[in-house]
Amino acid sequence: MNVLFPWLFGAIMLILVSGIFLWPLIQSRTAKKNDHRGFLIPAPLFNEEFSSELSNDIALKPPKNQSLEAELPHHYGMDRMILMVRDPHWLFAYWELTATKNEQFTNNYGPEAWSATHPVLRVYDITDVDFNGKNAIGYTDIHVSENIDNWYIQVGEPDRTFCIDLGRMFSDGRFITLLRSNTVTTPRASLSDRLDEEWMWIEGLYRSIGRFQYGISSPMIVEEHALRKGVVPLGISSPGFSRKD
């Protein structure tokens, strides 16, 4: 069954797709969960991947950005956990968990283990640590629901290094890692404490700079124009404009 199922699904999708392609390409906003996979069929590369995905996420709710992504594959058939820095206080993570990983977990911890556990993001502070999974300075757990595959994480700490695990937690608190992310360092949000004896900072210079504002660039023009007229011009660093209806 395990082997047959992907092919069956592929065949059904092929039929579906040939149908979809006949529609004018205007259904992007209302596209349903399966549509974007359908579009993939012409590229058999991904056949395997999404078919294996099917078993564990067909019942999932579409993520919030689904409609925007419509025709793109949401899964690439690869276990991955990507961590990105948004600013000194926030990180963003997205991940993909394949059915294989899921099966491995079930094989190791028993058929009931998946339903007996819930997903947890474990955020490790590994500043100045050569992280081996056990030597983090500290960690925070974020209990998330089954349906999501991305998350904004408020770490609230500039200039620290982080790494996160996606894992499953048993009711007794046992945590099993499924995916581990890359490591990231949050940017500083203030002057560095490290001073250079040869190039000692000139305090008066810094005082003359005083307070300053972030974000003086084309986005600001867009905002100012919007404020001024209730009209939002399209601002890239560029011209191009449209009126808000």
Partner: protein
């Protein structure tokens, strides 16, 4: 002998908007408007200054998409058609406004459109790159490069090969069109993260810019703050944006561009006049667009319907006053700083080029006055480019700049927020796939090479920070989403065709024709390298 330096930087960029599939593509008009309102007016003042032997030094980024569009025969032809329609319209306007307070302004546009045509067609033979190259070769402009498609590099550092692809592709095109490799780069959105400088170093780039806090928050703490560059540990210099000179020029609320005598952006005859009259000059589907002909001044904090007629003589006086004010403030600033420093301070003032002329109609005039005043009316400040500065002061402090951008809130949120975070799942995957392709196919030839090169083009086009930016602003989102998806899907299709050795030549040719940026791209620039910085550091 000057006491300090002013480093004016104009960042000229538009995303690659070339749509051969449709004769009237709205987004292509971004380019045509920018040519008429910004690039040609800048060229006009530079030419005039050179003719009158007025000295100036300005740094300008010409991004690879802009260079590519400037040299594209289809877009050149379409621009001429666009301009001819505009000239036809202004000829009618000359008659329509006769005897009204708008007539003078109509005549002003008439002259400026005719000048544009003669500069574009006759003086530079439709190729604006040759104008900028001329100014470079005369030592007036230092032209620097940018990411190949203005990709947002810090969010790409997960796959440093992708950043390297952006940088190498950009340098290659720049060198071919401008005759020499760029010494510096404008990091797209002024966005830096540690590690990027190593890739710049590897490719011969000597300097870049960050926003003020990129330098102020560097570690170790920089001695001179933003008034001298620092060297990254890689040896590449980083210049920080000045705080004081930013808002005066950028802001319509608090700066010069909001002056009541200046031209009002939102009263355009494309919106104001009867459909029957203006119809042939807006979009054929009846969609109203800006024509560039605007007869009113900002007037005050009043409703659009209460605006008063524009008077270009008075606006011109204001531009001269504001240039004087800007120069006075810089002199004052330099005098103050020079007392605190043991070397002349450098004031780095970067602006979007499109601010001048497009958003702020009188901007090019202001720049013209500023250059002349600096040349003749004072000797406190001297205009320099980063290369000039580094030549005079090769010894600078070593420190690591802070990850930052010039976007709202100062870091990466504009390009990583609820409206656009979904793109990275695809962009990162595609970048990795591209690296894999480049690694697996050494010295590919024929059809394979073409497909690999096109895959690289599609990846680069998907990576434009413009798409994420537009999504975050909430206007014209559909176009940005469509562009992102289209290029990723094109990439994925090529990826599987290459892997399965079944390249569809017809489709490949179609893509090569439609998305024809970077004709000389080499997919091997995306190959993995041992010497790249670890992704972990961003």
């Amino acid at each position: 002998m000057s006491k300090g330096y002013l480093c004016l930087v104009l960042h000229a960029h538009l995303p690659y908007v070339r749509h051969p599939e449709h004769a009237d593509f709205l987004e292509e008009k971004w380019l045509y408007e920018a040519i008429t309102e910004t690039y040609i007016p800048l060229i006009k003042i530079f030419d005039q200054l050179i003719e009158e032997q007025v000295k100036f030094r300005i740094t300008i980024t010409l991004t690879p998409p802009l260079l590519s569009m400037f040299t594209d025969p289809l877009l050149q032809e379409r621009y001429v058609q666009h301009l001819d329609k505009l000239i036809e319209l202004i000829d009618k306007e000359e008659g329509r406004t006769y005897g009204s307070p708008f007539h003078e302004t109509a005549l002003m546009y008439k002259k400026s459109f005719h000048d544009a045509r003669s500069i574009f067609c006759d003086r530079y033979n439709r190729n604006l790159v040759s104008a900028f190259k001329k100014f470079q070769d005369l030592g007036r402009l230092e032209i620097i490069t940018c990411g190949a498609t203005h990709g947002y590099l810090p969010l790409m550092m997960l796959c440093p090969e992708a950043v390297r692809g952006q940088v190498k592709t950009a340098i290659d095109l720049h060198t071919r069109l401008l005759g020499r490799p760029p010494a510096g780069i404008w990091l797209p959105e002024c966005a830096y993260a540690p590690g990027i400088d190593e890739i710049l170093k590897e490719n011969g780039i000597k300097f870049f810019f960050t926003d003020s806090h990129g330098i102020l928050y560097a570690s170790h703490r920089p001695r001179f703050g933003i008034f001298a560059p620092i060297y990254c540990p890689s040896g590449v210099a980083a210049f920080g944006r000045d705080v004081e000179s930013s808002k005066q020029v950028w802001s319509t609320q608090e700066g010069y561009p909001g002056d009541f005598e200046y031209r009002e952006f939102y009263r355009d005859i494309g919106y104001d006049l009867d459909q029957g009259y203006i119809g042939p000059y807006i979009h054929p589907d009846g969609i109203r667009i800006h024509t560039g002909i605007k007869y009113y001044k900002i007037t005050g904090k009043v409703d659009l319907s209460q605006k008063e007629p524009y008077n270009h003589w008075r606006a011109d006086e204001k531009a001269a006053q504001h240039a004087g004010n800007f120069m006075f403030n810089r002199q004052h600033q330099v005098n103050h700083l020079a007392g605190l420093m043991d070397r002349p301070p450098i004031i780095v003032a970067p602006y979007d080029a499109e601010l001048f002329g497009h958003w702020w109609y009188e901007g090019p005039k202001w720049l013209d006055y500023l250059i002349r005043k600096i040349a003749f009316d004072q000797d406190t400040i001297e205009m320099v480019t980063p290369s000039d500065y580094l030549q005079r002061f090769p010894c600078n402090q070593v420190a690591t700049p802070c990850s930052s951008s010039w976007g709202n809130k100062g870091y990466h949120e504009v390009w990583l927020c609820g409206a656009n975070d979904w793109i990275y799942r695809h962009l990162h995957m595609a970048a990795e796939m591209m690296t894999k392709l480049a690694n697996q196919h050494h010295n590919a030839g024929g059809l394979h090479r073409r497909a690999l090169n096109q895959a690289a083009r599609e990846l680069l086009l998907a990576q434009s920070s413009d798409w994420a930016f537009i999504m975050s602003t909430g206007t014209m989102v559909e176009y940005a989403v469509k562009r992102t998806k289209t290029h990723i899907l094109n990439f994925l299709r090529l990826y599987s065709e290459i892997n399965e050795n079944r390249i569809d030549e017809g489709h490949l040719s179609y893509l090569e024709n439609t998305n024809n940026i970077f004709p000389d791209i080499d997919y091997s620039w995306f190959a993995p390298g041992m010497d790249l910085p670890k992704a972990a550091s961003f």
